[in-house]
Symmetry: C2
């Protein structure tokens, strides 16, 4: 690791104090109320153009920046949308969704802050978020319970939205049920005549929230057919993949749903190195529809996952903020469809 050097610091030069709205008022020769009206763009009070300009010039000269906290204390609420940072590694698909969501919320004049209290869990986390008095909270993943929702609402959050694998009492929920991802893969493999289906379950901590529903989805897809499902725990490293490939033939599998495209690439390489023919001997299906799947030989079959549009979620948040009486509902929003290429 590269070290940041630690020379002792020399003593402090003069500290300048933080300019206040009183300083701006003094320099512009107006009242503090006028400064507040001008800088907050209040339309209820008519203020002449020259006065406005004088206030802006004074603020600029002093380098005055309004204090969001003070403003939100006065207004009783903020325009802050708080999103806890997800606890699990996020893929490119979800990254893009978050990015779109942030853009859409910015355009509706909200400020999005991602809260990184990685050590906090459950209701303790909700209390920490509530301290910032966000007007809306969007929680990715599990962990938010009815008590956490109540703490947030009591602290002034008008919209509490969870992106969750299961319903959360009191919150608007975008249900991301990954069962449909496994179901798409399982049904495809059964339709292609496969009967002994392995399902990779990553050993990486935190991924169970995705991998267990995907496994359950495959099981649902084979129900009523002759096909069986075998769970295959796998670490994301070459050694583990090689070990699994070495005992592949003794498992008697003719297909595998490999959790996602990256695990599929790992396992595909190990199977090929072991001399197992793909797709003849074993079909391989990934998920996420990443570019890398198209670059593999054989080209990787995958499940394309559709998340909701960031703009739709931003609009849901905005409606909930404006209408505090909006009854929270649970929306099933995950879509999945198979992309059949050469590996299955």
């Amino acid at each position: 690791m590269v070290q940041i050097s630690k020379e002792p610091a020399p003593p402090s030069p003069l500290q300048r104090s933080v300019p206040t709205s009183a300083d701006v008022a003094r320099l512009a020769g107006v009242s503090r109320a006028t400064v507040s009206y001008v800088l907050n763009n209040t339309s209820a009070v008519r203020i002449s153009e020259p006065t406005r300009r004088r206030v802006h010039d004074a603020a600029k000269e002093l380098g005055y920046v309004p204090h969001a906290a003070a403003r939100s204390l006065r207004a009783g609420h903020s325009r802050m949308v708080l999103m806890p940072t997800p606890k699990v590694p996020i893929g490119p698909l979800y990254s893009q969704f978050i990015n779109d969501l942030q853009w859409a919320l910015s355009r509706l004049d909200y400020t999005v802050v991602q809260y990184g209290g990685v050590a906090l869990r459950g209701d303790e986390a909700a209390r920490a978020w509530a301290e910032l008095r966000p007007v809306a909270v969007i929680v990715p993943g599990e962990g938010l319970g009815p008590q956490g929702v109540a703490v947030l609402k009591r602290s002034g959050a008008r919209a509490v939205v969870a992106l969750s694998p299961e319903p959360v009492e009191g919150a608007h929920v975008l249900l991301l049920d990954h069962g449909c991802v496994g179901h798409s893969a399982g049904r495809h493999l059964v339709e292609r005549g496969r009967r002994r289906i392995g399902v990779v379950v990553p050993e990486e901590p935190g991924l169970g929230v995705f991998s267990q529903p995907r496994l359950a989805g495959v099981r649902r897809a084979v129900r009523g057919t002759e096909a069986t499902v075998t769970e295959l725990p796998l670490a994301y490293d070459e050694g583990a993949a090689a070990q699994l490939a070495a005992r592949w033939r003794s498992l008697g599998l003719d297909a595998v749903f490999a959790y996602n495209d990256e695990y599929a690439m790992l396992l595909l390489r190990a199977l090929q190195d072991e001399g197992i023919g793909v797709p003849d001997e074993t079909a391989v299906v990934g998920a996420d529809d990443l570019m890398l799947g198209r670059l593999l030989r054989p080209r990787l079959s995958t499940v394309h996952i559709e998340l909701p549009a960031g703009r739709d979620l931003a609009e849901l948040v905005d409606r909930a903020v404006r209408d505090a009486g909006m009854i929270p509902a649970t929306h099933d929003v995950l879509g999945a469809r198979i992309v059949h290429r050469e590996s299955s």
Copy 2:
């Protein structure tokens, strides 16, 4: 795209008001000052255990959460470390670094918020950050100028740290000069006897801040040798890679530094599909040392990049917060070394 349904909401039920410290004081039968001393764990004032318990019980019963903004207004500063969300897509290496940094700052009792004002640029962005009155700001990438630093400092930020390709006046800078990445790749290729070196420059917007220094690093590495450098603009899609591969032989190149491992995988596939032997006819080198490089055949040579430890940066932030007189310095922190495998 999956639609979120938009049923009209029924009218609002009773709105509960947000509990305040006055409510807690009333229920506990103590003064507001006592509530504040107890809930902020002030050690300067002695308060009996039974009183403490009464205050905590009352706060719990009412669901009272302290207001961070009000607290920071009283204290004159917050424990908030603000990080603008990076404007460019971030890779797994940088993700891990940010995650480590957040952990380390949490352990030092800071709250990390990532600020997602994606539409803001330069000094306008700095003013928006300043409104939240963070005690420290960590800015990834370019865009922060001396004026922005001044705005943040005047608004009470004690530490302003940039992770930047170039020095920023007034800020602590961790210099991430990607020249060393290109230099490692270039020197390796020259040492392997290659003389006509192509350098992939991604067309994806926002990546120039990394790709241009990497290109310059390769040029520096070939200086004084017979080798030449050819710039190869490339979009991240199969069609573009196939077109480049189709005119490969007319370019007369015997090596390519492909910007990173993902571009290397894209180009390697296109070259192989075109029948160009790797490494015999053309050597290929990536960067980032991702797992996927080891899964390719031939195994991909790559540049392993070392970022500073998140813990070291957290300590730098903490020292700067505690010692406002610490003179900002620029630390060169990026490390790079070649990982030689089969493709070069």
